[in-house]
Amino acid sequence: MPFEPVPANKITHQVDINTSPSWVDEPLLRVEDLKAYFFMDEGIVKAVDGVSFNVYPGKVIGIVGESGCGKSVTMKAILRILEPSAKIVSGKVTLRRRLNSEDPNSLEELIELTSQHPNSKIMRKIRGAEIALIPQEPMAAFSPVHTVGNQIMETILLHQDVSKQEAREIAIEVFRSVGISMPEQRIDSYSWELSGGLRQRAIIAMALSCNPRLLIADEPTTAIDVTTQAQILKLLRGLQEERQTAIIFITHDLGVIAQMADEVVVMYLGMVMEKASVNTIFKHAQHPYTQALLRSIPSMQSESRVKLPTIAGSIAHPFNRPKGCPFHPRCGHFMQGVCNANQPKLVEIGKEHYVSCFLYSDETIPSASPLTEKNK
């Protein structure tokens, strides 16, 4: 069904957080059954097919998955920066937005991001001030012809009512807070003059410059060395505790997840396989994919030169998503006639522990044809 954007500024609520106790438990970001499909000449790619999770203020939620699982597309869908060939087909993303981002006691409202036009004023206000993105490639994220200071100041000036000089001072301050030494000089350098670690810090600085309540970190440490990664992870942890920023941390590295996340969402081919607290995932994972993933990763604690248990086969091409549960062709617990017939629903099997697997529940998602359809 085609997605029709609703006129901008469709506000649902406007409530003062301090006086309304029912909002204390309200998640900062609520993603409900989000579906985003790519419409290409060759067919439809269901990149994100029914993803739900909640992000609470000050918490870190880790999204784990391999290539093709849809984690990056989910983030782009939340921020409404999807490519033109992709559309949000259904689902809802709701954000608790501050009306005045510079005031810590500001009133808040609940706003449906999926109903806004991607280019609307409200979305542009939200990007940067409410939700900030730390992209994967720091080199690609900075313009090579502007100094890093210029770019950060641009962000600040867009969202805050300050003068240019004040913006510069804020930028220097935020550089300092991410651990960049000599910030007054560094602010006038170009991104290619900085080393990998410094660039990553600069990107984090830019993301934090307007005090967003939610940070989306898209594989922020994949492209950097392990010692630099340790520094960046420590930095993020510190900033998160200090500013109580919520973080959506996207990565494929389970070690990083174990260190950073409070809650974990495991994705595979566009769907959520398992969702639980980080301890539960690592100690009591229930979904066969999660279990297999945890077992197949070499870790320094395990014995050398011992063959790892592997997951058979390889990840299906998104065009070729299997009918039924997307993981079933590789699953050790495959049940003929069950797993390849319908998609399992994400059900709660323990305290805050959700799994989508027929081993634990018979509930299914009524599926439209899982085969790719020609775009008519």
Binding site: E42, A312, G332
Partner: protein
């Protein structure tokens, strides 16, 4: 993502072929999750049908063709291009009479209108023309005589010729039904010397297109060799060749062309002049391609598969010919196709100015030379038709070249 072309109905993924999965009471026992067994068995799942097989054994050219096919405009242009190439191969088939047949009495006959119906049946004919000299101006006035019907038909007999200089024939695409009246059909009128324009246009197509294609061909060879040496070996050959390219590119083209073609001796035969023009055009055209080839070689030298070939013991010649060049052949073809119209227009312009090919050679430019003054244009505007053909040819080459380039470049989307 690997590029996938043309999947129609994609398979339902099941693993009935998994060797270890046999049903036991409706629940399948666990296959071992250890390697060297399940890995290969589940490879089967990845290619379960003909469609994927077809795509996986598709070579690069097949993929390029599939992508090209989707561009309808390019395909249409391609068909027109093929038609032009057929004209190039057998212009005599398309001509109605010998292009050199001059008859001053038949000068400036306008385009004859083709009447399709005669006596209620489909029997195309053109009216005969009767000339009368105006007693005052002594100019020939042509009046159309509707009574004299010259019937035309397809595949008529006409003057004899040799297809590709090999096979004798005398069949032409269109001609007078009665061979005796062959000299009376002027589908596009005549010029100042009474020569049939339609026939001349066919012959001109051959010359103009061939010059374009051959000079681009020579450019490709020069560009590949010199660009390849430059890029692969580096060092001082690279320096030398790059300076040469810069020198050539800094020379203003039009004056150089004019000077070179004007320097050709007047006594040379048309064939010699043709050959010389081709070389002159190619001398400047190779530089751009050489630069691109050099760039490609420089980047390819760093590719892992080139290193793998070296480690396997391949000779340098083999690496260049088998590994490097094929990776950008499609790009070369695409850019060359875009270079041909430039050559065509150049030759046309030069000949139009009287500095390129000269009569008795026939090219679009030579034909257009007849339409140089206002007087002629006022009297016989149909002499400008070769210009229209030039436009069509250039358009068609450009569209095909663009389509090829987009199809060959996987990152164009």
């Amino acid at each position: 993502m690997d590029s996938k072309e043309e999947p129609t109905e994609l398979p339902i993924m099941e693993n009935p072929d998994h060797p270890d999965l046999e049903e036991v009471d409706g629940v399948v026992p666990v296959p071992p999750t250890f390697p060297d067994d399940s890995a290969s068995a589940t490879e089967e799942l990845l290619v379960a049908n003909q469609e994927e097989e077809r795509i996986s054994i598709a070579s690069n050219w097949t993929l390029v063709w599939w992508r090209f096919r989707k561009n309808k405009l390019a395909v249409l242009s391609g068909l027109i291009l093929i038609f032009l190439v057929i004209i190039v191969l057998v212009p005599e088939f398309f001509a109605t009479m010998d292009p050199e047949d001059t008859d001053a009495r038949l000068a400036f006959i306008p385009i004859q209108s083709v009447h399709w119906i005669d006596e209620g049946r489909l029997k195309p004919w053109v009216p005969g023309v009767v000339g009368k000299r105006d007693p005052v101006t002594l100019k020939m006035i042509w009046t159309v005589d509707e009574n004299e019907k010259v019937y035309i038909k397809l595949f008529a007999e006409g003057y004899s010729y040799k297809i590709l200089s090999l096979i004798d024939s005398n069949i032409h695409l269109i001609g007078a039904a009665d061979p005796e009246q062959a000299g009376k059909v002027f589908l596009l009128g005549t010029d100042r010397l009474g020569r049939d324009q339609w026939s001349r246009l066919a012959y001109a197509t051959r010359i103009s297109m061939t010059i374009g294609m051959i000079s681009v061909g020579v450019s490709i060879i020069l560009g590949l060799i010199l660009g390849g040496i430059s890029g692969y070996f580096g060092g001082w050959p690279d320096m030398l060749i790059q300076r040469l390219i810069e020198l050539l590119q800094s020379l203003p083209t039009i004056p150089i062309w004019l000077a070179l073609t004007a320097a050709l001796p007047r006594t040379w035969s048309p064939e010699k002049v043709f050959f010389a023009i081709t070389i002159i055009l190619a001398l400047r055209g190779w530089t751009t391609l050489a630069r691109e080839v050099r760039g490609r070689f420089l980047s390819l030298r760093e590719e892992d598969f080139v290193l793998a070939a070296e480690l396997a013991g391949c000779s340098q010649a083999r690496i260049i010919m088998v590994h490097m060049i094929p990776t950008f052949t499609s790009h070369i073809i695409a850019t060359s196709t875009l270079a041909i119209p430039v050559m065509i227009v150049t030759e046309t312009s030069l000949s139009f100015l009287g500095l390129g090919l000269r009569p008795p050679a026939i090219s679009w430019g030579v034909m257009l030379q007849e339409a140089q003054n206002i007087q002629t244009l006022a009297l016989a505007p149909w002499l400008l038709l070769p210009g229209v053909v030039v436009i069509v040819a250039v358009l068609v080459f450009n569209l095909v070249g663009d389509g090829l380039r987009d199809a060959a470049d996987p990152y164009s989307n």
